[in-house]
Amino acid sequence: MTTARALIADDEPLLRERLRALLARLWPELEIAAEARNGREAVELFDEHQPQVVFLDVHMPGMNGIEAARSIARRALVVFVTAYEQYAVQAFEHGALDYLVKPFDEARLADTVQRLRERLAGPAPAASAATGLEAVLDGLAAELQRRQANPAAHQQWIKASVGSSVRLIPVEQVTYLRADEKYTLVVWEGGEALIRKTIRELADELDPARFVQIHRSVIVNLHEVVQVNRGLNETAEVQLKGRKELLPVSRSYLHLFRQM
């Protein structure tokens, strides 16, 4: 058997150095083929060096460890290194992979080395193990998405030019939006600004549970509505928190306030 080779991927240099130092003591024959600082580098270096063992940090900038594992998992033994991912710990306990929870001690790493050496000496992993791995990766990816600042289905911030800067306004602070030819006027707690989007585009991008169009040219934040006044001819007007102006509700949108 040729010398086993390994890849270490972690964005924190001190942790890469420590793992390298510990492995040198516990598994002197193991050659560290490369060190990667993020998931993208890990995949590139894996393709270049084709190591049998990969130590992957789960949380890395750009491409994370889970995504990197998806593209290399079937071709190497992957050990995840992670800090306090309770869910990950659970997932790995049911899966076929090994994992290390940071900070780990030398004895724990010795177990992992033992397991890896046995696996490398034995027959190639069965297909069932690979299927189990896929499930573990799916679960982990879903969990990571849930925990991280993952893009929501709807717009959470409105970018508006105020003077020379582009302000980011949290949508929950927006009181209402009104069409102004090709632009839209955003009115929020801290002021008002024109943005380069049409009311129609905004109606599609904003969360419909909070923002409703009440008129051809007006969208209001329902949480900011204080009162709806009925008028003649199936029209109404809306009064908003802390604002003097009343906004028109046209006939075709009046049904929104029927139950109120």
Partner: protein, 361 residues
Amino acid sequence: MPPVAVSVPTRARGLDRFVAALSLKRVLIALALATLTAAALNPLFITPFAVLLGRLLVIALVLLLVFTAAGSWPVPWLPRWLVQVLAVGLMTPVVSYLVYLPAVQGQVFEVLRHEGRLSGFIWITGTTLLLGLVLALGALYRERDAQARNQALTFELERSQLERQALDARLRLLHAQIEPHFLFNTLANVQALVESGSPQASAVLRSLIAYLRAAMPRLADDGATLANEIALVRAYLELMLMRMPDRLRFEIDVPDELAARPFPAMALLTLVENAIRHGIDPSEQGGTVRVEARQEADGALRLSVADSGVGLREAAVPGTGLANLRERLAGFYGPAATLELAEQAPHGLVATLRCPAEVRA
């Protein structure tokens, strides 16, 4: 800017108000009082009681409608209560006179010629005028009283909501202070330094201790100053620098004369943590975090945390940190404190905190 507001016809709203003000209770009171008046006046009249009662019931109901209507359609230049009282006063003789018309087959002057009817008319008008005006004033007084109570309740509710929000913000601060991810990753780095016998280890431990001490749950903001907060921010950034030396650079620029300013604990740290978590950490290249404090002309404190990281996408879910921070600022400084986020060129984000010179009592 053309106003969006359109004026809605007042007629429809007046009708709404009219229906709302005409409560069953008011109708019943008017009818009961009319019955009592009829009973009291009965000995003076030769007219059968039923007729007298009928007349008075009709008068009471019509006057109630007049009173309610006068209150529902505003008259320019005159206060509502005056319009209502005047309407009742003026309409009383008219209505009393009208209820006599059926008895004289519509002969308008017949009522005045018949001495008995004339005295009946005068009695009814006098009594109704007296009772009607007393009743109208009473109703107005009760209305005003209810409005005042309503307003007091609304104020009380708003105040208790604000207090609860401030308390909630503090409780959340107590709960989610030190992120386990951050702590365990940092400890893993410290472990690496200690094991390798690095001389850096003790300096890093000092930063960790300073950070943990500052981040320990505290209920009161008593004695929290900008200097304490900057020490906390510096300790945090030193720890992050140890973890990502190749990706992070930071600068802290705070004039000494601002150090003693009172400042809510963890407020600036929240912004710096956000800059690392959402700006620098997701970036393969990393970037610079710059913390700056300045005093404005009006004595207000302006703090900014700028990063040259990946910036923010419009669909990025805002963390609870910013919402908590806004509540904390409102609790510490009142509504004058503001927090603004803006994009940095060519990429990154700058958060600007403006705190008034006066701390809320």
